[in-house]
Symmetry: C2
Subunit: 363 residues, 2 copies
């Protein structure tokens, strides 16, 4: 059916008018029939811990309860443990080879820790450089493993820390309106990513100011040079012409370089995510507002019974939004067909009973 035909109404106009009038009498908004359709039933609450060997008989835990998705704390703890381990080993190693590292020195342990952080975050000032094959290969090993660790830090810890400030930000942004806790939650839920961007940006600005002030006060740098040093450090550029030379400065740099470079990377990630989310929202809006034609009804009618149920409509639209694809559906359909013992095309308690008995007989 060519696309123009889709535009001309299917029924002769007079016939339509009479049907339209009946509908206008009992106007849709005051329809008293209880709409039985949308119940936001979520999957049954699960209590069992999911682990790799699949537990068949346990009631299924809710996705958000599965350890992989549970509260970030354990993840944050694990990442911080890895970070502490990495820095301890790194400081120890670079302290042991401190004679094979040349450049401006202050105190052994602080320099080793400072060099470890400068290598891990790939800032690489060059104020301290390995000058023997052994120390060079050691630095190579630490820069690659450091990048992996920073990757984990980015995906775990940052998210967790930002969540703490979001609620404050929402309240700050809506001081004038009367914003109760539920409004904050609702606002947070819909624009979660945007508040993460704001929160990270705020932390970044504070780190920039703190860094510049510190370099001006402690390292005695002019303001522009201090700001330039902050920029070249936060972006992990690290030319090395301006860097932290005093012992106190290097101790400050250990914490400040780690937090600021990760914060900037996290900010870029959130901006990219926000960009993708906006495109997704535009697509969803387009999918949900475009006109439905008979082609759509036909394509959405999974069980070919001539009508499109709510679930079929949901599956069809989700596919169109690109949220799911054929691969997701066919895996689930295979399971459905296995469970559908009487091949009625629907699942009932009897299917479940027969599924249980056959598996008992087979055992």
């Amino acid at each position: 059916m060519s696309s123009d035909a889709a535009r001309t109404p299917l029924l002769p106009t007079e016939k339509i008018d009479t049907m339209a009038q009946d509908f206008n009498l009992n106007s849709r908004t005051s329809s008293s029939r209880k709409r039985r359709l949308r119940r936001s039933r979520s999957a049954p609450r699960g209590d069992c811990m999911y682990n790799d060997d699949v537990k068949i008989d346990e009631p299924p835990p809710h996705p958000s309860k599965i350890p992989m998705f549970s509260d970030l704390n354990p993840n944050l703890r694990r990442v911080i443990m890895f970070l502490a381990l990495y820095l301890t080993i790194g400081t120890l190693c670079f302290y042991l080879v401190r004679d094979q590292i040349s450049g401006h020195k202050t105190s052994g342990v602080v320099d080793a820790l400072y060099f470890c952080i400068v290598t891990m975050t790939t800032v690489g000032y060059g104020d301290l450089v390995p000058n023997s094959s052994a120390s060079r290969l050691l630095a190579c090993a630490f820069v690659f493993s450091g990048m992996v660790l920073v990757g984990h830090l980015l995906s775990r810890a940052a998210d967790y820390l930002v969540e703490k400030q979001e609620a404050l930000l929402v309240r700050a942004f809506h001081l004038r309106q009367s914003f109760g806790p539920t409004d904050i939650l609702k606002e947070l839920h819909t624009n979660k990513l945007r508040y993460k961007c704001y929160a990270t940006c705020l932390v970044l600005v504070v780190l920039f100011i703190v860094g510049t002030i510190f370099l001006v006060m402690v390292e005695k740098m002019p303001v522009i040079s201090a700001f330039y040093c902050v920029c070249s450090t936060v972006t992990t550029l690290g030319y090395g012409d301006k860097s932290f030379n005093s012992e106190a400065g290097r101790l400050f740099a250990v914490f400040w370089i780690l937090t600021s470079s990760i914060c900037l990377a996290q900010f870029f990630l959130y901006v990219a995510e926000l960009n993708t989310e906006n495109k997704q929202r535009a697509l969803v809006k387009w999918v949900l507002t475009r006109r439905i034609t008979n082609n759509d009804l036909e394509a959405a009618d999974l069980d070919e019974d001539g009508v499109v149920g709510a679930a079929e409509f949901i599956v069809y639209k989700l596919k169109e939004m690109g949220k799911i694809d054929e691969k997701d559906i066919s895996g689930i359909m295979d399971e459905f067909e296995q469970l559908d013992y009487d091949e009625s095309g629907t699942l009932t308690t009897s299917d479940i009973v027969l599924a249980q008995t056959t598996s008992q007989i087979q055992r």
Copy 2:
């Protein structure tokens, strides 16, 4: 119903045996009834270009046809154009302020281009450094905009280039078996990400070897120092104690630094994606193999008609896999209810007709 009750069969055992026997007679595998359920209907092919102002009457374009998701070529072209623009402006600016940049110099334009690349990729050797406020602020501006550009390069161009090598790799990996084009496509489809990792890793190894050989032959570095310089460059660490000092070396570095640093970043991104995909597959396998209980049937029964249809089962399982959430569903349900004029809980052609007539009457 506590979890132990779920384990005891719902029907008394003798009753089950008789029912089980009937089923065993016409064993499921030889069932002749044509299974009308699974047709992999996709959304109707669309032809119109999607743009921001939503076209209501046009037939809906297929998601993969919407410009945002169409072939990567336009994206790749746009990113390369931005890159060329960035490097031209950067080289011009750093050439104009070359007197305010100190360090080891070769030729004006090559040094400016080399400095621009070293800044954009945040390698920051420090063999060339800005020594005035103006050139320093210029470098700050270029490092931040360079990071944004590298971000775009990572998300667009890299994916596109790797896709070219994947098919070769699949053939190389399966030389012994007889692997036709369809097998390659199928293999590629299921393990796409893994082959991307392999392809990027291969390109990375080649870049490492080429870089090391070049530094040994042209920059006359010992092998370990050359390898150390390659590692500290590819990871954008850039201490600067070892870098490219000759004009030819710097010209080579312009291309080599850009490709190798982006390739390493892309490799890390693919490994992270692969990690997430494996976790997702484990969850999907768990969701599809766990035992279905009456709780599930009840929760999946969206329209509360006492049976669970295929589409309802799909929606229920997708939610459990975490692929969709309540927010996705409620948006679609709102549209469904608007279209469901006779409030029958299903959509038919008459709903579409009435939807058209009321919108015509309103206009």
